[in-house]
């Protein structure tokens, strides 16, 4: 049994990064995420990592590039507008194949938006965000405990595949306090022969770049990247389900809305409606095969994607369901969390029309 603490989501993420052996943190303050850098700044004297409050998110993500390429475990965290600023850097990192962890504790947008929680950055997170053909692993915690567990997982997956891993959280999970169990610090021994640590006489120089000026080379690089992404899709899909076995109506939701959705399932079950919840934990790779399998069950009648956006993850749900069953969307924007009551009303109305 690990150490039990009562923590804020953002602080739990920060503490987990320390325990995962993070060596460098580079960040710029933005609500509702600033507790991460504040926590790490306060803890810095007790640990071995280096922290820099960068001059911008552009600088933070490029510090992450340099630190990762120097062979260190590095992280940056931000919230939506800051994550937009990082997109060029994420694209470079994906192409240069550098392991790193980025967290977006998302707020409502577009623009400067609101500091309340949002899920409108789904497209940006899973479809690219930056330029070019790249993918990144996207993990979506829905509790303070998962802020810990998925942060540790994020560092491991980043190293395993030499890829950026995004933790797409939201302001609600980042700000809420819950009981968490913290793991013992993980002994981390970097084995990164590709890193730029100084060309010793027994090897060629190491070059970290995303530049392949000849078309042939660039295509080769792309083929290599696509193979890697395929391997990630085959091996790293993660999801959680609730009351799914006999469900006729299935909610899909991630992050904070998956918590209210669980409550919705309970309420529906009380009134005799056979509802279940499918919660993707990896938004990329998306649990498309599992959703397709559910869609092809005879008893499943329809899907409902519940989001704090104008309809983003629903596109992936629809692609997975592939027209086999009707798929509906209900969402609120502006930082408003849909209430169980309004969602149940919506689902009952739609189910009645089936």
């Amino acid at each position: 049994m690990g150490e039990i603490r009562f923590m804020k989501g953002n602080e739990a993420l920060a503490e987990a990064a320390i325990r995962a052996g993070m060596q460098g943190y580079f960040g710029y303050p933005i609500t509702p995420q600033s507790e991460v850098i504040e926590y790490l700044a306060a803890e810095e004297p007790n640990h071995d990592y280096t922290l820099i409050q960068a001059e911008s998110e552009v600088a933070s993500i490029n510090m992450v590039y340099g630190g990762a390429a120097a062979g260190a475990r590095v992280m940056t965290t931000t919230s939506s507008p800051g994550y937009s600023l990082m997109q060029e850097g994420v694209s470079y990192i994906a192409c240069a194949e550098l392991p790193c962890v980025v967290a977006n504790v998302a707020r409502g947008g577009p623009g400067l938006g609101t500091i309340q929680a949002g899920q409108g950055d789904y497209f940006q997170a899973v479809k690219g965000g930056g330029h070019g053909d790249y993918r990144q692993i996207v993990l979506a915690p829905n509790s303070v405990q998962e802020m810990v567990d998925l942060t540790i997982l994020a560092f491991d997956l980043a190293d395993k595949y030499r890829t950026p891993v995004l933790i797409l959280s939201d302001g609600a999970i980042g700000q809420m306090m819950e009981k968490v169990e913290l793991p013992e610090p993980i002994p981390y021994k970097p084995d990164k022969p590709w890193a730029t640590t100084g060309k010793t006489h027994d090897r060629e120089r190491n070059i970290i770049t995303s530049l392949y000026i000849q078309s042939d080379d660039m295509e080769k690089k792309n083929i290599h990247l696509q193979r890697k992404f395929k391997k990630i899709e085959e091996n790293e899909v993660r999801y959680e389900e609730y009351m799914i076995e006999d469900a006729e109506l299935i909610i899909t939701a991630y992050g904070v809305t998956s918590r209210t959705s669980k409550k919705i399932v309970d309420l529906a079950r009380e009134s005799g409606i056979k509802m279940g919840l499918h919660r993707p934990i990896t938004l990329w790779p998306f649990p498309a095969d599992r959703i397709s399998e559910l869609a092809n069950k005879n008893k499943v009648k329809a899907f409902f994607s519940i989001e704090m956006s104008a309809g983003q993850m629903v596109e992936d749900v629809k692609l997975s369901v592939n027209g086999v069953k009707p798929t509906f969307f209900y969402g609120r924007t502006g930082g408003i969390i849909p209430t169980p009551e309004e969602v149940i009303d919506f689902i009952q109305k739609k189910a009645g029309e089936l």
Partner: protein, 250 residues
């Protein structure tokens, strides 16, 4: 080695055998050579990590036989910052053009200097965007014609050419600043001495080292290499004076 011959001059072992892509007469190649000579002479090859910019020297890693990272346009200072913080006992340098360091990357440059990040900036100021075909840079001289200032740089529209060395010199974090050139053999030798001083200061860990090189771009300036050297003497150096601006203990 042919019999009866002896080696009296050769490139340093810290430069690869790759053929450089720089235009004839371009000072980029000269600076690569003297800096890599120093890395060899000071026995720093195994300890050095460099950062290339986006600009004509984007492929510096093809020539410099040390570990290198290619940064996004303007972000070399942020990248170098993290390398040095993660590997404090290595020698770290960034090699950047004027568009890279003084336009798109101004914030990263200034803040790295202000934090006193302990790496060396090698700042190649040729007053133009060489790589993209000769557009105006923040350092283009007043009246100088480029493809985006076809009637000459107009101060009212574009401001005065930025003097980066003078800008970063007063910052507390900065330990060493100098402006050198590569236009004459004497200036090349001086530049090498200045780089050496900068690397020694890096080993003392007392603050940022910033060395600006008044450089040329015969292709972008649309002139011969010889004419470009004359331009450096007549136009560039009067506006960008050479010398050491700041050094420890002075």
């Amino acid at each position: 080695m042919r019999e009866g011959y002896e080696v009296i001059y050769q490139k340093p072992k810290t430069l690869t055998d790759n053929k450089m892509h720089y235009c004839p007469g371009c000072i980029h190649g000269t600076m690569h050579k003297i800096f890599m000579e120093l890395i060899e002479e000071m026995d720093l090859q195994e300890k050095t990590v460099g950062v290339c910019p986006v600009g004509c020297s984007v492929f510096a890693y093809d020539y410099m036989d040390v570990d290198m990272q290619e940064a996004a346009h303007g972000r070399a200072a942020a990248v170098a910052t993290a390398i040095k913080r993660m590997l404090p006992d290595r020698i770290v340098f960034s090699y950047q053009g004027d568009g890279d360091l003084a336009a798109i990357g101004t914030a990263e440059t200034l803040h790295a200097c202000n934090r006193g990040e302990n790496f060396l900036f090698i700042f190649i100021n040729n007053g133009i965007y060489g790589m993209t075909g000769g557009q105006m840079a923040p350092t283009t001289l007043e009246g100088q014609k480029t493809t985006t200032s076809p009637f000459g740089r107009d101060k009212k529209n574009s401001g005065s050419p930025l003097k980066m060395t003078e800008m970063v010199t007063p910052l507390d974090g900065v330990a060493f600043t100098a402006r050198v050139s590569g236009n004459t053999p004497a200036n090349v030798r001086k530049a090498k001495r200045v780089f050496k001083k900068a690397l020694e200061i890096q080993q003392q860990n007392i603050g940022t080292q910033f060395v600006e090189v008044v450089s040329n771009c015969p292709s972008g300036w649309k002139c011969t290499p010889v004419e470009s050297m004359e331009w450096i003497v007549e136009k560039a150096i009067p506006y960008y004076p050479l010398g050491i601006f700041k050094e420890p203990g002075k």
